[in-house]
Symmetry: C2
Subunit: 212 residues, 2 copies
């Protein structure tokens, strides 16, 4: 085993530290967050920090970095109170990755990164047309994480649009059919293959061969 | 596209709603959280809600559900102030999954689910021996998410232990070499294959064929 203690971590060069700490949590979801400003300027940004908070009501959290530099996604969510979440699939990885380049606020990543915006029904924030799982979100609250001044944006799900035939009978999504990808660290994209699905865990179902 | 509005979601049967909302964020990391109580009772629990918060200092967040029922992991972290995070690899998926069964506080999931505990150096919380990426954590703060009474546990990384040869030159982890798996929803495990790694995104590197 390679062993890093805290001193080793803190004394790594910046790039190595970023790569190590950003990958150490394991696989991360790959989503594009669509937003719009009060001036109707559209924005699109890749995020790997989406996390499930609850199902009733359906709440999701999104971690965003401090506002020491302009954060168009954060600013737009606070302004408009709505945003979209769009799964990244293996057809749009490179375009999705490029949304993390530094664009000015009057530049739309939809246009610059060649992703098509899509307005659906009366929802006034753009979705990503190429995405096969899209979620319409309403802002609920922002929570400041004092330890490092990051912000947890809490939102509730208003709409979900999913490609036909990719919802299983039990309600769960089939990520192979959606071609959804995941991220490790800051820059590496993975495709995933289903290995196994287990029933709800119950003590009485523990294999007897495990008992010591 | 299948379209669910909020009314559709809220009127789904409980299992379908849980499966849909738990899978809609995309792939999730698969980790085992090791803890110990003041009475030295060890505990191990699977979590898919680990999220990166920052690299300097190295901070990670873990979402845990309300304390309406006993939550051994939460209680132990608050008592002892330390915990471990252990990547789930494809050799221990079933055993890791079974840690989510309801065990009493005096039962150790290490023993019941046939996973080997491992104490390393002076860290007084057990790691999972079978895991090939293990993190020693110190509790920093807990943040209540008022919207649904979940809790975000913020911790800082004290130690990282990783299998030899699975750290790339740039510091990032190679999840193929670690055999790390990811989760969708509550019960489905995926193995992932690397597709592509892109350099840091810069506007000047956008392919000219994209320009409209």
């Amino acid at each position: 085993m390679i062993h890093y203690n805290r001193e080793d971590i803190d004394s790594l060069d910046k790039v190595s530290r970023l790569n190590l700490i950003n990958s150490v949590t394991g696989f991360k979801p790959a989503n594009l967050i669509g937003t719009i400003s009060d001036q109707k300027q559209e924005n699109l940004a890749i995020f790997s920090s989406l996390v499930h908070l609850g199902s009733k009501p359906p709440l999701l959290g999104l971690v965003t970095r401090p506002n020491s530099v302009p954060r168009h996604t954060y600013t737009n969510i606070i302004e408009s109170k709505f945003y979209t979440i769009n799964h990244i699939n293996d057809n749009i990885i490179e375009r999705a990755h490029m949304t993390s380049a530094k664009f000015n606020r009057d530049e739309s990543e939809f246009e610059k990164c060649s992703l098509e915006k899509e307005y659906i029904d009366s929802f006034h924030v753009p979705y990503v047309k190429e995405s096969e799982c899209k979620i319409g979100m309403k802002f609920v609250e922002e929570i400041k994480i004092r330890s490092n001044d990051t912000i947890l944006i809490v939102g509730e799900i208003i709409n979900i649009m999913i490609k036909q035939d990719s919802v299983a009978e039990d309600g769960s999504l089939d990520f192979e059919k959606l071609n959804s990808v995941c991220i490790s660290g800051l820059d590496t994209y993975y495709k995933a293959q289903k290995i196994v699905k287990y029933p709800y865990a119950k003590k009485k179902n523990i294999p007897t061969k495990w008992l010591r």
